[in-house]
């Protein structure tokens, strides 16, 4: 068995609206290894959640996976291409939650308002594991206790509105782990909670990863969070990868102006600025993408002569950047690393 658990190749996802086509994801590739954490970062609207949905083959009309492969190496070395599966078929339904589970972006509303926590957890457990109702309930109680919730038995009969945001997020994590998935996709699991809770949840997820051994795709818009959890990072911009590398490389040798701008915009306590650094300009209209390099309207290094149509360049052993001037903007990159 190889180390790779999931491999995304040249994924394209588009939404076909009456006003036009939104190419939410256009040519994204990455892989994730067993037990590791991959961070996906990017501004709002860059296609992070759409990518996550595509992995579970859950992109809904008017959206569709246009092309690309999502190879899942679950049981053996022969992968299953999730993108080719029938989105309503039995195969993908077995994989959903059973092998790959997901925590959605909106923890407040990810639980049903009219069903008890127990109902929703037991449903998931019994769907994928051969358990009686009592066993499933016991299993759920164990998980709820494991994620640090008090009085887990009573929690089973509670409803969503009786729980705080942090509690709901913990319930979601417990539910996501209930069928021992090999991969957990966490879509901005900490955006809706306060900073203390955020740290607790990050720690919890790290502990659980040790214990359960699943791989995690961690989606966020804050590069600062990524540093704490991820092994590898994909920086996305307008549906493309701007830069891909391991976490240290991203922090110390960023080779894309967008990554550099993101790094600059992390507030730092050691340097006092008059105002917070932001990235100049706004995210362009998804219907009306800029030609050539998509980042150029906001780029301070833009040179029309050089930046025609940048491809994802390999600039280091495990380091790719979609900037034609990657070497110029980052003097730290040694010339020798450049592939011939």
């Amino acid at each position: 068995m190889s180390d790779v658990l999931l491999e995304v190749n040249d994924l394209h996802v588009s939404f076909f609206l009456t006003e036009g086509i939104v190419r939410a994801v256009s040519g994204v590739s990455f892989q994730i290894e067993r037990g590791k954490t991959l961070g996906i970062v990017g501004e709002s609207g860059c296609g992070k959640s759409v990518t996550a949905r595509a992995i579970l083959n859950m992109v809904r009309p008017p959206g569709r996976i246009v092309s690309g492969e999502i190879n899942y190496y679950g049981q053996s070395d022969t992968p299953i291409d999730l993108a080719k599966l029938d989105p309503h078929g039995a195969e993908i339904r077995r994989i959903r939650w059973g092998e790959i589970s997901m925590i959605f972006q909106e923890p407040m509303t990810s639980l049903s308002p009219v069903h008890t926590i127990g109902n929703q957890m037991i449903e998931a457990i019994r769907l994928h594991m051969d358990m009686s109702k009592q066993d499933a309930a016991a299993h759920a109680v164990g998980l709820l206790a494991r994620v640090g919730l008090a009085q887990p038995e009573r929690l089973l009969t509670r409803y969503r509105h009786e729980l705080s945001g942090g509690m709901r997020q913990r319930v979601m994590i417990a539910m996501a782990l209930s069928c021992n998935p090999k991969l957990l996709i966490a879509d901005e699991p900490t955006t809706a909670v306060d900073v203390t809770t955020q740290a607790q949840i990050l720690n919890l997820m790290r502990d659980l990863q040790q214990e359960f051994g699943m791989a995690i795709i961690f989606i966020t818009h804050a590069l600062g969070v990524i540093a704490e959890v991820a092994d590898h990072v994909v920086v996305m911009y307008l549906g493309e990868e701007a830069e891909v590398a391991d976490v240290d490389t991203i922090y110390y040798k960023a080779a894309h102006p967008y990554t550099q701008a993101l790094l600059r915009s992390i507030p730092r306590h050691d340097i006092k600025l008059d105002r917070l650094e932001t990235i100049e300009g706004n995210v362009p209209d998804p219907m009306n993408m800029p030609d050539g390099c998509k980042f150029h309207p906001r780029c301070r290094h833009y040179d029309p002569g050089k930046c025609a149509n940048p491809a994802l360049l390999q600039i280091g052993e495990q380091h790719w950047s979609r900037c034609a001037r990657a070497h110029e903007i980052n003097p730290q990159l040694s010339r020798t690393e450049q592939p011939s």
Binding site: L56, M58, R60, H88, I92, R93, R94, I95, R96, W97, G98, S101, M102, F104, Q105, E106, T109, S110, L111, S112, P113, V114, H115, Q120, E123, A124, L127, H128, Y159, H161, E162, M172
Partner: protein
């Protein structure tokens, strides 16, 4: 929950009280008191009423006394003896004429609501899950059509079709052989076989609106994260739609049904007139046309009270169904 029930019941009682005042005002609307008219009617038919009896009735209904005394006596009659006054046209107590017709009115109303539910929920769910499909457009159009066709017109057209194509009168609630027969299984089945026409007529105009409500409610829910979660769990589309968004969308739907009830009652009324059903509708029309005001007031009051009770029941149902209200 208990508090909620108490609050709703008190509100319903208050509404019923206001209804009684409004009904009383209706009785008082035409000039002159009813006894004078009643006497005049009797005299016309050549009957003589002994003076003592007139005096007794005067006393009973408080005629000639201030309004509030009359109202008080009228209400006391209703609450103590179920005496709603006398029908001038029929010359008997109103309650005698009403009771058997009320049962059938409730029956037609309930079956119409049942029809509305049975049709509106699945169609609304289908329309929402297949938004902008051909069938969705078709249902929307039929819905608008149903809203636009007055009940009585639909009734007329159905009668006309029944008459000219099948050569039979589709009106009424019983076949001739059962109309005066005592209750039996056969009569009940016969009733059911006639009931579907008024049910259909009243139903169509309301299903239309409620399909739209259900569809809109569903569209609100169907992209909610909890539905995505359910899908990510690997549930089949069918199971997850019916378990999650439908269940949530039903709550505002139930309260809409509560609001629709008053109009459904109106629909039943006017349809009954065209189809000549032995319900309260034709009786009310007749009473109004002949200014038989005790009768009219009593019918307005009973219909309103029934509606308020119906709405109360639907509120309670809502509370039972929705944990957010239940725990308030």
């Amino acid at each position: 929950m208990f508090q909620f029930l108490m609050r709703r019941s008190l509100a319903a009682l208050a509404t019923i009280w206001v209804i009684s005042i409004v009904s009383f005002v209706i009785i008082q609307l035409p000039p002159g008191d009813f006894l004078t008219t009643y006497m005049a009617n009797l005299r016309e038919m050549g009957e003589r009423v002994p003076e003592e009896q007139i005096a007794a009735m005067r006393e009973r209904y408080g005629l000639g006394e201030p309004m509030f005394v009359q109202y008080y006596k009228w209400m006391r009659g209703i609450i103590q003896d179920g005496d709603f006054g006398r029908s001038m046209e029929w010359g008997v107590p109103v309650s005698m004429l009403l009771w058997d017709r009320i049962g059938l009115t409730v029956m037609v109303g309930l079956s119409s609501i049942l029809f509305v539910w049975v049709v509106a929920i699945p169609v609304g769910v289908y329309s929402a899950t297949h938004q902008y499909s051909i069938l969705d457009y078709l249902f929307t159009f039929i819905g608008f059509l149903g809203l636009a066709i007055p009940n009585f017109l639909l009734a007329l057209v159905l009668m006309w079709i029944g008459w000219s194509v099948f050569g039979q009168n589709v009106g009424g609630l019983y076949s001739p052989e059962y109309s005066n027969a005592p209750w039996s299984i056969g009569k009940f089945i016969d009733l059911l076989s006639h009931l579907w026409i008024p049910m259909l007529i009243v139903g169509t105009s309301w299903t239309a609106g409620l399909i739209r409500t259900m569809r809109a409610n569903m569209l609100d829910e169907i992209n909610q994260p909890y539905v995505e979660t359910a899908r990510a769990k690997g549930l089949t589309e069918w199971r997850l739609v019916w378990k999650y968004p439908v269940r949530v969308a039903l709550n505002p739907f139930i309260s809409t049904v509560g609001y629709a009830l008053p109009q459904i009652v109106g629909g039943v009324l006017i349809t009954a007139v065209v189809l000549n059903l032995p319900t309260i509708g034709p009786l009310l029309l007749r009473a109004l046309l002949s200014q038989d005001m005790f009768m009219a007031g009593a019918i307005v009051m009973i219909l309103s009270i029934l509606t308020v009770i119906g709405t109360l029941i639907s509120d309670i149902l809502l509370a039972v169904f929705d944990p957010r209200i239940r725990l308030e």
